[in-house]
């Protein structure tokens, strides 16, 4: 049997499939390497997301191989042989499914080695998420092999590939949020570093994909028309059972990932556990900001990372008034090793902005510009950032603040900060025209 598996690996579509699938997976997964470079949760998200490219390929390959006996008209010859049909079909199945596993698991394992070096939080059952992705690929391959045997037309493989691609591509764009969709689609609902996928979703997806694979196998060994129709029952039963098992909200916040990890020297500069590698880059600028704002009445005493990301949580003004003692910042872009991608001066400016106002307050372009002007002026003053690039509004605010006596200056800045964090108009406050709500 092993010799025949080797023969099939050489002569069937297994080897080209392995190469094409590995190349595609590697190319597409590395396309957004910045998304997943330092966090397991993001790797699971990205690795599952490329299913819309890889599954049509394995489906087409499966259907193509399944039609091999029909295309080459060997059924007559093989009908007179003693080996039972399932045993006869087994070596090629092993070769092809093996190719899929090696390609997908190999590339994902490669990506995992990149993460393993830098990840700081490995909770959230990420192996389960990756395993479901592999299972989905195997299931679709088996389904393809079954369809290829059942449907004799040569145009089945390209049509099925295009159809599957259509379904997956459209659902990647517009995805209705209900349990059935969450179970059936191989791609995960949108998630980020601070959330995790409930294991019950993964379990129900395992049930669905196993049922799908079983349908494929039954279609392969089905001899009569009736048997082919009966072969569809596992898929139907699987989808029903999986829909029942699936949770209604599969993406939940992960408190262990969002737990705060603080700098050793002083407990006042903290990041989330999953982004621990951002801490070294953060400490110096954050300390500068804390020192600069030390004399501002009601000024910040801590710098923390916001456990909400722009990807998932609709931005909401966090607290109208509460927690003003904390600067809440976020890092949309991390490097492959998990540290902050921004240059130090950019980071400093971002921290200054987060100190002065809450971004979520200002949805209008005009208001946002005003708030930015205020924060730029304060940053130029307190942090001694260069003043040559200030916008006219910011320069005006800067010139208003500079000649003021220190106490008055700090008080205005404090009031401006209060306005910015409670969705007022910080620029007006700084210019001395009152808070204005």
């Amino acid at each position: 049997m092993f010799r025949i598996v080797r023969l099939e690996a050489k002569r069937s579509i297994a080897l080209p499939l392995l190469l094409v699938l590995a190349a595609l997976t590697r190319a597409f997964l590395w396309m957004d390497i910045q998304e997943w470079a330092a966090s397991w949760a993001s790797l699971v998200q990205s690795a599952r997301a490329i299913a819309w490219v890889s599954l049509p390929v394995v489906l087409a390959a499966g259907i193509w191989h399944g039609g091999r006996e029909g295309r080459n008209e060997v059924s007559e010859l093989f009908a007179a042989t003693p080996r039972p049909r399932p045993v006869r079909l087994l070596p090629a199945f092993v070769a092809i499914v093996g190719a899929v596993v090696i390609a997908e698991a190999g590339v994902v394992a490669w990506a995992a080695t990149l993460i393993a070096r830098h990840a700081t939080y490995s909770g959230g059952q990420w192996p389960l998420g990756l395993a479901v992705g592999l299972l989905a690929a195997i299931a679709v391959t088996l389904l393809g092999l079954g369809i290829g045997r059942a449907v004799a037309t040569p145009v089945a493989a390209p049509l099925a590939a295009v159809a599957l691609f259509l379904v997956l591509a459209v659902s990647a764009d517009e995805r209705p949020a209900n349990r059935l969709v969450d179970v059936v689609l191989p791609m995960l609902p949108k998630t980020d570093d601070f959330h995790r996928v409930l294991p019950s979703l993964s379990v129900s997806q395992c049930v669905w994909f196993t049922a799908l694979g079983a349908t494929g196998v039954l279609l392969t060994v089905a001899g009569t028309r009736r048997a082919r129709w009966l072969a569809l029952t596992p898929a139907v039963a699987g989808i029903a059972l999986a829909a029942l098992l699936a949770p209604s909200g599969a993406i939940v916040r992960d408190p262990q990932a969002t737990a705060l990890v603080c700098a050793r020297e002083n407990n006042r500069i903290c990041v989330t556990k999953v982004h621990t590698h951002a801490l070294p880059t953060l400490v110096a600028p954050a300390q500068k900001v804390l020192d600069a704002f030390a004399e501002v009445p009601g000024g910040p005493e801590r710098v923390e990372e916001k456990p909400e990301s722009w990807k998932l949580d609709a931005a909401a003004p966090a607290s109208h008034g509460g927690k003003r003692g904390t600067v809440r910042t976020e890092f949309p872009q991390l490097t492959q090793s998990g540290s902050i991608r921004w240059k130090p001066d950019v980071l400093l400016a971002a921290l200054a902005q987060d100190t002065m106002f809450d971004e979520a307050c200002y949805s209008e372009e005009k208001d946002f510009t005003r708030a930015t002007d205020a924060s730029d002026a304060v940053a130029a003053l307190l942090l001694r950032t260069p003043t040559d690039e200030l916008s006219p509004g910011a320069r005006e605010a800067y010139d208003t603040l500079r000649p003021l006596p220190a106490k008055e200056r700090y008080s205005r800045i404090g009031e401006g900060r209060k306005a910015g964090l409670t969705c007022g108009d910080p620029l007006a406050v700084i210019m001395g025209r009152g808070a204005g709500r």
Binding site: F28, V53, A161, L166, A169, D173, E174
Partner: protein, 197 residues
């Protein structure tokens, strides 16, 4: 039924033309449903997938069941093959253009330039694959390339523009040249050599 039209019917049946026409209709329906969505990006994507769907049925028709037998006959095969390609591509393009006209009031239809470029060039690429690899496997390079272009999206570099010619909206000089080249080379290769045995 005259001898000519009967011959035409038999030719069509030997090449599975009726089934291909069904697929063309399906592609047209798909393109039309694409225009029902609100998101222009999704609509464009569905429109291009419809093109790939239609073209996916063409390679099957590029070779008869017994090529050696057919080539020994007296028919002017170069002419027949060229006509075959032209008629199929023209039919698919007309169906998709009809969709385009019907839904013209929507703002987010696939631009007609792209359709007029994509259908002939992709069909010619299946013909080229058939001439190089045989009609049975000719769908692999063209359908694969088509879907890959849709998945990757338009690229800006010169090489990227040539490689993602189908999804460049509006068509750039490089992408239009690539499409035109593909059309000419594909039709010429297939007309000359036919599907590889």
């Amino acid at each position: 039924m005259t001898r000519g039209s009967r011959g035409l019917m038999l030719y069509a049946r030997s090449r599975s033309i009726p089934a291909t026409l069904l697929v063309f209709l399906a592609a047209a329906c798909l393109a039309w449903t694409g225009y029902l969505t609100d998101d222009p990006a999704t609509a464009h994507r569905i429109g291009l997938i419809a093109v790939v769907l239609g073209v996916a049925a063409v390679p099957r028709t590029l070779a008869g069941p017994d090529e050696e037998l057919e080539r020994a006959t007296a028919l002017p095969w170069r002419l027949v093959r060229t006509l075959h390609l032209t008629l199929l591509a023209g039919l698919l393009l007309s169906l998709l253009a009809a969709d385009h006209l019907i839904t013209a009031r929507q703002s987010h239809t696939v631009p007609f330039d792209n359709l007029a470029q994509a259908v002939p060039a992709l069909t010619a690429s299946t013909a080229l694959s058939a001439a190089c690899f045989g009609a049975r496997t000719a769908w692999m390079p063209s359908v694969g390339w088509g879907l890959l272009m849709i998945a990757v999206g338009p690229r800006i570099s010169l090489g990227g523009q040539a490689l993602t010619w189908m999804v460049q909206e509006p068509p750039t000089v490089t992408s239009a040249t690539t499409a035109a080249l593909l059309t000419v080379v594909g039709v010429a290769a297939y007309a000359r050599r036919g599907s590889r045995l």
